[in-house]
Structure formats: structure tokens, C-alpha cells
Amino acid sequence: MAADTTVYKEIDGKGGDYFSLVGWLGLMIAAGLASVYYMEHHGHIVTGMTNAVVWGTPHVFAVFLIVAASGALNIASISSVFGKYHYKPLARLSAVTAIALLAGGLMVLVLDLGRPDRLIVAMTKYNFKSIFAWNIYLYTGFFVIVLAYLWMMMERRMVPHSKKAGLLAFVWRLALTTGTGSIFGFLVARPGYDAAIMAPMFIAMSFSFGLAFFIILVSVTYRASGRPLGDLILFKMRNLLGIFIAAALYFTVAQHLTNLYAAEHAGIEAFILMDGGIYTFLFWVVQIGLGSLFPLALLFNPATGRRCQGIIVASLLVIIGGLAQIYVIIIGGQAFPMPIFPGMEVSSSFFDGVVHSYAPSLPEVVLGLSGVATTLLIIAVAIKYLPLLPTSLSDAKVDPHHAPKD
């Protein structure tokens, strides 16, 4: 592999655009914290969540960000672990993005707790049979490992060791997403979950969502900072995104086909695929149509796939489709009635046997968005004060042997 001659430099970050961006993000975070105060002061009665739909919009955002975090690390992994040197210049940004996404997601998750003031309890008392408890270790370990990996990439003396750190980070991120998917996979009682496929499906989803976020981040940052971004690296990421979208789609198909085969799961499948109202709409129209098939068409259609705008739009759609997918999994899985007496008609004052309604409340949405704002703010500050971004990602810089083909 050729010696890394990439020049990394902090962004200028002195213009009005940068400060207005930071100001808006700060405002969104403040709004999120105000929502938390409101929710904690009054209790979760002011949210759309109930005793039947116990996890709501904050969890959709939190899980999306946490899943995307491990996916955003892929660019670094591909360069360090799989030796694809084209991606090497973006490895630092990839690591920082992963940390920022995880921090944003965890912030939302923690602030939605019934007792966020007891976070110290969660950090000191563990039930090691709980996948949640494992995840606390997986998340904190991810921060430590990725920060060490980032330092090794940035500290010249440590660069020879960065490959090993990259390998560890790669294995850890697979474990982390397995842990996140298993939060649902381990729920034996609910027909919408209780499936081993949740773990690999979440890994495929993470590849797709994380890269989509990363492509938008790189494109926008390079345009805003006036640094050259060549087609070569962009098209490579485009091709990779296409593969990841297809992989996530594959697991979705496998999940539903397997369920459709078992008469036991006919109820939940009919609910999600046919008569679940908003969940059916989100599944077919947003997740499959807008979030998977349409982006694939955009990416591989020469008219749009060779234009930066086309790739950005496709990436945005992947993110929207991803949020829809997680909404369908988390909320749809709870809205479907728990089969307490399978095969029987059930009714009670606690809404047994009926589809549970859920409508996101404003504080929940604002809290979720404030997690995204936190992610973006961390990245904005990091690229201003640390040499993370290459001064150029032109084709000649990314690959000195590159000869334009098309």
C-alpha cells in the first residue's frame, strides 16, 4: 500500500454559515432538553406512549442513530481491515461520525428513561443476563475502542498499529449491532420480534443507514468548505451503498417470508403487510418503495447515479426509509396485540386483543431530533478543531493511478 500522503486540515469554521449552523443545532438541543424537562416533570402522560406502546418515537430515533453509528465506521474498517486504500483518507471522519452518532442516540435513549436521574444506577448495577446490560458495555466499549483507533490513525508513531485497532473496532461494531438487534430478537412473547434474524438484519441495516448518512455528510461538508470532492470516491461509496441497500432488503424479505410460512405468524404478517394502516403504508411505500427500491434505481441509473445530487437524494431516501423501517419494527411490533390466548378473541379494560393506537407527541419528536442535532454538533466541532478532513478528495488524490474512464 502506498504511503499515506493525504493532508488533513481543520475546516476554517469562521464564516457566518458555520456559526449559524452551530447556533441552530444548539437551539435544537436546547429544545430537546426542554422537552425532557417537560416529560419528566409531568411524567410520560404527556407523550404518546402508553402501557401498551411503551417505546415510542424517541426509541425510533435512538435505535436509528445507534445502528447508523456502527455503520458509519465501515469506511474506516474497509480501509484498515480490508486494505481498500481509496477509503483511507475518510477513515478519521468515519470514526468521529460513528462516535457522534452513538452519542446522539444514547442521549435520546437515556433522556427518555422514566428515571434518567438514575443513570448512575444503570452504570453500577448490572443484571448480566440482560441484553440491555451487555449493551451498556458494548456502547461504552465502542467509544473507547473507536477513540483509541482514531488516535492511532492521527498519531504518526501509532499509525502502524492502527490496523489492529481497526480490526478490533470492526469486530466490536458487529457485536454492538448484534446486541441492538437482539434487544428485539430476544423478546420471546411478541410475534413481531422473537427472531434470530433481527441481529444480522440490524447489521445489514447499519451498513446501509450509516453509509447513507456518511455520504451526505461528506458531500455537504466538502461543498460547504470549498474543498474538492472527486467522483471516484463518491462513486465507490455509491456502489457500496447500493450493495448495502440490497443486503438490508434481502434480510427484510427473508424475515417476512419465514414468518409467512408459519401459520402461527399469519396475524402479525397480515398486520404489517396488508391491513396495518400506517404500518403497512410505512412498510411498503416508505421503507420498501421510497427507502429501498427508488434509491437503488437512482444510484444505478446513469442519469442520476453519476451526479452528486442524485446520490445525495438517494442517501436521504435511505435514511427516511430506515426511520420508517425502525418505526414499523418498534411501534408496529407493539401495536399488534399480544397473543395472550392464541386463537381466542380477547377483550379487557387494558385493551387486550385490540390494535394499540400510538401517535407521536411533539416532545418526543423534538427529543429525537435533538439527538440528531447532538450528532451533527459533535461532528461540526470536531472537524473545526481536529485535522480530520483531507484538504482534497479529488480523483488524483484518492488514487494517483486513476485515469478517468467515463
Binding site: 402501557n51 401498551a52 438514575r118 444506577v121 440482560s130 423478546l187 420471546v188 395472550i340 377483550s347
Partner: protein, 250 residues
């Protein structure tokens, strides 16, 4: 509430939660004369006992309303919620109506925490707040519940409630807290004094034996004799969670 009474409440609560004995409560809180109660548990909970219930779903359905009201009165839930919103109000025990769509056969039965031997809520709880005592009673330690609601996702019976708003009218033996999860405790505070759970007592006071409570491990107990005589069912027994609540007639 004075400092003194606060101390008393805390102490007794913690001992109940730790499976502590009534005797320990007496030592630590001298005002409480539990010593006189017949058959009170005098040591920590052990797996020599397995508390359980047998519920007869053939009983007239209105007896279950009495069981629900008795639970509300005993534990202090469902009375003072400010917003009275049925989707967020807690329900520790509820009457469920079941109908076979093919035959039209109907039954009503009370459903509460099933006090599983292998409780999914305990497995998933990150902090260990959801716990099972050695005698099979499943509880929430409200001191370390962080309100993540993962137990509610995991419970196959929808038997847990999240406290969505401030609560009032709490009972000294059953402190409740906004932002934590709660459920049927099998009236552990009564059981440890040798008494029956409030729902069972209310129904037996009517002269009905539709709910029988006792030690499933004691072959001479009424419940153990009943479950060995009649074929009983446990809800979602296919999940292998081994509930302590048995039913007849469903």
C-alpha cells in the same frame, strides 16, 4: 410526612423487597407488632415454598370485579390518577373476557403478574430491579428501576404498568413512583405475615373458592391438592416460563 415515619416506611419496604422476614421488620421498626401474626414467615424467603394461585374461570364473571377492586384498595392504584386515561392508567390485575370464535364458548378470568419461574421481565431488566424471590414472587425494586420499560416489552401477559404521572394515596407498604414500573406483588406484604393476597381474601369472604392461594410445594396445601386433582392450565405455557398462576376452565 415526618422524618421518623419516613424511616419506618423505608425500612419495612426494603426488607420486603429483599425477601426479608417479618421478624427483621420487628427488630428494625419497634412499632410494628407483626410477631403476633399466626404463621408469619420468620426467615428469608426460600425456595422451599413456591407461592401460587389456582383460578377457576368457571366462576361468575362479576367476582373478578371484586378481586380487581380489592387489589386497588389494598395497593392504592387506579384511584387517584389525575388524568384518568385508560391507556396510561396502571392496572395490576384486570378481568379478561375470552371467547372461542369457532364455538362461541366464553369465559372471564383475572389476569395479573403470573409470577413465572423463568420470568422474561427479570431476564431483560438491565439493573436487576425486576427480580424473583426464592419463593417465586416476582417484584420490582423501585429503588433501582430506571424506567426503561424493557420488562414491559418482555412480559408475555401485559401485566406491568408504567407510572405515567404523579401518584397519590400511596399505601405505606407499597410506595409507588412516577417513572418506574409496577405490577402485582402477590401481596407480598400480606403473604410474609401469613395472610392471603387481598384479591383472594375478598373473594373467599364472599364464600367463593374461585381463587385459591398457597404453597404449591406443600403437598398438604389446598392449592397443591387441587392442582393434582384437576387438570389446570397456565397461560402461554408454550413459552416455558412456568407461571405460578394456574387456571381451570379455559
Amino acid at each position: 410526612m415526618t422524618d421518623k415515619s419516613m424511616t419506618k416506611v423505608d425500612t419495612s419496604r426494603r426488607n420486603i423487597l429483599k425477601g426479608g422476614a417479618a421478624a427483621a421488620v420487628i427488630t428494625l421498626a419497634p412499632g410494628v407488632t407483626l410477631r403476633t401474626v399466626e404463621a408469619a414467615v420468620t426467615g428469608p424467603a426460600t425456595n422451599a415454598k413456591r407461592w401460587g394461585m389456582l383460578i377457576d374461570a368457571n366462576a361468575p364473571s362479576d367476582v373478578w370485579d371484586i378481586a380487581v377492586e380489592a387489589c386497588k384498595a389494598e395497593q392504592g392504584w387506579g384511584k387517584d390518577e389525575a388524568h384518568a386515561n385508560p391507556t396510561t392508567d396502571p392496572q395490576w390485575i384486570r378481568k379478561v373476557n375470552v371467547k372461542d370464535p369457532k364455538t362461541g364458548a366464553k369465559a372471564s378470568l383475572p389476569v395479573m403478574c403470573q409470577h413465572c419461574a423463568n420470568p422474561p421481565c427479570v431476564d431483560v431488566c438491565p439493573t436487576g430491579a425486576s427480580m424473583k424471590r426464592a419463593d417465586g414472587i416476582v417484584l420490582v425494586d423501585k429503588h433501582i428501576c430506571i424506567g426503561c420499560r424493557y420488562c414491559m416489552m418482555a412480559c408475555p401477559y401485559s401485566c406491568r404498568s408504567f407510572v405515567h404521572e404523579d401518584v397519590h394515596g400511596q399505601r405505606p407498604h407499597m410506595p409507588r413512583g412516577k417513572g418506574t414500573v409496577e405490577a402485582c406483588t402477590l401481596c407480598v406484604h400480606r403473604v410474609d405475615k401469613g395472610q392471603q393476597p387481598a384479591c383472594v381474601e375478598a373473594i373467599s369472604n364472599m364464600g367463593s373458592d374461585a381463587m385459591i392461594f398457597g404453597d404449591l410445594n406443600d403437598p398438604t396445601s389446598e392449592i397443591a391438592r387441587a392442582v393434582s386433582k384437576y387438570v389446570t392450565q397456565r397461560i402461554r405455557s408454550d413459552l416455558g416460563v412456568e407461571p405460578g398462576i394456574h387456571y381451570r376452565g379455559i
